[in-house]
């Protein structure tokens, strides 16, 4: 597999994972309302990225699966939502949120670097389609990064000094 192919695969898997991680964190922190809603919004970006990367993979001879199917919101999800609301009052939940934000930030940073590599390779090979892809998606990954960073900046002073 070419270097571009390997990177496409890594990024595709990274965006798939980030979507899942964002959805899971959103479910864990239903009572941190802004985080919950924005996490769902920016998970949509990663989902679109995975779809577009799977399409691009075909140009490069890869069979990438695209985003995961959404689990149906069954009994388990309802249970998780209840647990999240019950636990949401506890101060320790604030620390858990900070740790989730850190992990999401690191995952987005990994994706961002892969986008950077692809964009550079696309320029070197004058691959217009790949350039369009990175140009369309990478800014959204950077927005995910700035968001997690801003949330940490806002929440850390209160949550780390109050438990």
């Amino acid at each position: 597999m070419s270097g571009i192919g390997i990177t496409l695969r890594l990024l595709h898997d990274g965006e798939r994972d980030l979507e899942q991680d964002l959805l899971a964190a959103a479910a864990r922190h239903r009572t941190d309302h802004e985080f919950h809603h924005v996490a769902l919004d920016v998970a949509r970006w990663s989902r679109e990225h995975a779809t577009r990367l799977a399409d691009a993979g075909r140009d490069h001879g890869l069979a990438l699966s695209g985003p995961r199917d959404h689990p149906s919101p069954g009994g388990l999800a309802a249970l998780r939502a209840k647990a999240s609301e019950a636990l949401g009052r506890r101060p320790e939940n604030g620390l858990l949120l900070l740790h989730d934000l850190r992990d999401l930030h690191l995952a987005a940073a990994r994706n961002s670097l892969h986008w950077e590599m692809l964009a550079q390779a696309a320029q070197a090979t004058r691959d217009e389609r790949l350039l369009t892809l990175t140009g369309g998606c990478h800014p959204q990954t950077l927005r995910q990064l700035r968001w997690t960073n801003t949330m940490v900046k806002i929440l850390a002073p209160q949550l780390l000094t109050s438990v």
Binding site: H37, R89, R143, Q144, T150, K153, I154, P157, L159, V163
Partner: protein, 796 residues
């Protein structure tokens, strides 16, 4: 003179038509207590309205030490003598027999009367204990849009420099945060660009989610008078309800709730496509056009029609009118601010004006409206999650400047993160990191979303709640200490309306019992806490309204909201004056941005902006790169689907709103007999077709249920989008047997039992007009009651 006996039925009074470019004729509205004439009035005392954001100037009639009526001030630029129903009748609430007259403290679970020393000692001892044990981050303040400038400024100084907490925000978060944020995103700084006088000149007026007829009755009178005169303006209205504004509009767009960005992007698309862009203005005064054009390139009217459920031809027609306007005035209010993608949508209205070059000239106005009478003061004084004087928390120079004004070290002022917004303050209280919450002049137990949650937060054992108010509100009933406050007419101070007009409101009568002005209470707290500056002198050096105003003038000097040219004397006797008012502009400033964009320079701007989807702060270095010359920023936004959509369980969109007869949670307006009688209880609105599809009819008692809770209300079938239900949000429980909550295990009457806790990530304004509900029958309309299908008395 207009003294029509019944301004409940005749909300806007008689017409005084006028032509474009001529002054709005005056009409003096008066209402005196029954049996009294003007000859019976001993004194007229100058004031301005405290029951909406329009800033209507009035005089209070006094006889034998009591208020006996009001009269509009014909000389004033804002209302030229007119008053709306809330002002004509609302003053009577001051004399209500159930005013709080003594402080209350909680003893063995019950609130009991005490003296001021006892109440203030409890507050200061709890404050000291929290400061010692947990630090200033354990103390939060939630204030209002209904106090005076002098009070907000004092509160901001004692919270930010005295205690050093970052947790101070107003209920203005619920009404005007998006206006402020949208202005910051586009112009780098808060500050209303337009002026009410733009109505006198406009050839086109567009109202976005703004039922002006009910929220700013006097401004609507001005527009009605233009429409009755020669060369009337064309009117574009965006509102899902067929409001009085919609009925007068040339084009009325009634989109699905939560789709404003799609609609506005399509309007921008059409204006760009048809070449109605002012290139010279764009080049001289803006950055970001290419990105905006790219984002809206695919947002055709046909695309938006599918999302908004509005006919394509209507969107095209609206774009044609907006694109053809030569003097366009736009206003924006809660239909945008409290809806999904609030800031993103409000910013697109700014973009509309920028790409058309419609700014800074007579008639080319932009009014990002306020909801409350002194919301602007909460914003500029730094009592609403910003630093005073529109200073930028990310700009070290601004913080140093503020520290110099207060003679404290910059480190005293918490500025490592944006000042905490109200919804986050409640979240910290919920989690336990805030141990004391001081609430001044507002009623979150009725006004915040998801009331069962709010009640449970306020009732927590570990949270010490102080409420400062006129009455034992729903929130006060949950407090640990209740402080009786004086209000409008009983204290002196200034307030600034939605078009930057500063008015003086003077004391006319004494407050009841031991009630004290909010300023006196805050100064008393500061004195007891003995707050000091860095040289050991007193931090707060003022002692009354006028000296507090002078302190604020020093803080505002050189900033966009510059008050240095004003004084109480200048505000007495004549008209209100628009800031900035300085030595160079001694008569105030009608319009901002008459000569380019003044406040967006990186060294000057209040904010570097936020990501409109995620709320992430833009870093200084990014802003410098994007906008080194300080031009207006054309910020594009992609449409996102609403966070809570309809489903088979909850098939209807739920929006909440207001009526012309009430303000906020009815604390005052329900105590004015005429206003209370006009709208005594909650109701729900649905279209006749939707009601019939749900098996319901006008007058039925229905239950509105969402995943958060339920409300019971009489159904009114009105002209509103199908698929939607509307509830007024004013109604709570203080006048019910249960006091501050719904009767046990039964649905309530406060609309916010049902609303979702979700806020705009950029402005942090809660979204009351997003959510899904089902409506079910409780009981049929009693057969002897006539059906009510009128729509007056309900606003959005």
């Amino acid at each position: 003179m207009d003294t029509s006996a019944d301004r409940i039925a005749d909300v806007w009074g008689s017409r005084t038509p006028y032509e474009p470019g001529t002054p709005w004729p005056s009409r003096t509205d008066t209402h005196l207590a029954a049996g009294l004439g003007e000859q019976d009035v001993e004194r007229w005392v100058q004031a301005a309205s405290l029951l909406h954001s329009n800033g209507d100037a009035m005089d209070i009639a006094v006889r034998e030490g009591r208020m006996v009526g009001v009269r509009g001030r014909a000389a004033d630029r804002v209302n030229r003598g007119r008053l709306g129903p809330k002002d004509l009748y609302g003053w009577q609430a001051n004399a209500s027999p159930d005013r709080l007259t003594r402080p209350l403290v909680r003893e063995d679970g019950r609130l009991v009367e005490c003296d001021w020393d006892t109440a203030m000692d409890r507050i200061t001892s709890r404050t000291r204990r929290l400061l010692d044990d947990k630090g200033p981050g354990s103390i939060g303040f939630h204030t209002s849009g209904q106090l005076f400038l002098e009070e907000y400024y004092t509160l901001a100084v004692l919270a930010r420099a005295g205690l050093g907490t970052n947790h101070l925000d107003g209920n203005t978060r619920l009404c005007t945060a998006t206006a402020a944020e949208a202005l910051k995103e586009t112009f780098g700084c808060d500050g209303q660009p337009g002026s009410y006088e733009d109505i006198d000149h406009a050839d086109t007026v567009a109202l976005f989610g703004h039922n002006m007829a009910e929220t700013q009755t006097v401004l609507w009178m001005r527009l009605l008078d233009r429409m009755e005169g020669a060369d009337p303006p064309r009117l574009v209205c965006v509102d899902p309800r067929h409001t009085p504004v919609a009925r007068r509009a040339d084009v009325h767009l009634a989109p699905r709730a939560g789709t404003n960005v799609a609609l506005l992007n399509a309007l921008l698309h059409e204006i760009i496509r048809t070449g109605r862009v002012d290139r010279a203005y764009l080049d001289a005064h803006t950055v970001g056009f290419d990105e905006l054009a790219a984002i809206v390139a695919e947002c055709t009217p046909g695309w938006a029609a599918g999302i908004c459920d509005v006919p394509t031809a209507q969107i095209e027609r609206a774009a044609e009118i907006l694109g053809g306007a030569e003097r366009l005035l736009s206003t924006v209010l809660q239909g945008v601010y409290q809806s999904h993608q609030a800031t993103a949508a409000a910013v697109q209205v700014n973009n509309l004006h920028l790409i058309r070059g419609m700014l800074g000239r007579p008639g080319c106005g932009l009014l990002q409206m306020n909801g409350q009478p002194s919301a602007e003061n909460t914003r500029e004084c730094g009592a609403d999650g910003d630093l005073p004087g529109f200073r930028n928390w990310q700009n070290e120079e601004h913080v140093a400047e503020l520290a110099a004004v207060w003679n404290v070290t910059p480190q005293t002022i918490a500025h490592y993160a944006p000042p905490t917004h109200a919804m986050q303050i409640f979240r910290y209280a919920e989690q336990g990191s805030i141990g004391m919450l001081w609430i001044t002049g507002t009623n979150p137990a009725v006004s915040l979303p998801e009331l069962s949650r709010v009640r449970s937060i306020l009732a927590q054992e570990h949270l010490f709640v102080i409420v400062q108010d006129l009455f034992l509100t729903e929130t006060a009933q949950l407090a640990d200490v209740v402080l009786p406050a004086a209000t409008w007419g009983e204290k002196t101070g200034t307030l600034t309306n939605a078009d930057r007009t500063v008015h003086l409101a003077e004391k006319a009568v004494d407050p009841p019992g031991e009630a004290r002005p909010d300023l006196d209470i805050l100064l008393d707290f500061a004195a007891r806490m003995d707050f000091r500056d860095k040289d050991g002198g007193p931090l707060i050096t003022w002692h009354d309204p006028e000296s507090a105003f002078a302190a604020w003038q020093r803080c505002s000097a050189g900033r966009p909201c510059d008050y240095s040219g004003l004084s109480y004397d200048r505000l007495r006797g004549g008209s209100g004056i628009q800031w900035p008012c300085t030595d160079e502009a001694p008569d105030g400033t009608a319009r901002l941005y008459t000569d380019g964009i003044d406040f967006a320079h990186p060294d000057v701007c209040e904010s570097y902006g936020r990501d409109l989807v995620t709320g992430a702060s833009v870093e200084p270095v990014e802003y410098w790169a994007l906008n080194p010359d300080g031009k207006a920023v054309l910020k594009a936004a992609e449409y996102l689907p609403p966070h809570e959509d309809t489903s088979s369980d909850h098939p209807l969109q739920l929006i909440t709103g207001r009526t012309v007869y009430h303000f906020h949670t009815r604390t005052k307006t329900a105590r004015a007999p005429e206003l209370n009688a006009a709208a005594p209880d909650v109701w729900a609105e649905m279209s006749p077709a939707e009601a019939s599809a749900q098996g319901l009819a006008d007058g039925d008692l229905v239950q509105i249920t969402t995943p958060r809770g339920a409300v019971r209300a009489r159904l009114r079938t009105t002209a509103i989008r199908d698929g939607m239900v509307f509830l007024p949000f004013h109604y709570g429980y203080w006048d019910t047997p249960a006091g501050h909550h719904p009767p046990d295990d039964r649905p309530g009457r406060a609309a916010n039992e049902t609303t979702v806790t979700d806020w705009d990530p950029a402005s942090k304004q809660p979204l009351f007009k997003t959510g899904a509900a089902r409506v079910t029958l409780v009981s049929r309309r009693p057969t002897d009651t006539a059906a009510r299908t009128d729509t007056t008395g309900s606003g959005s």
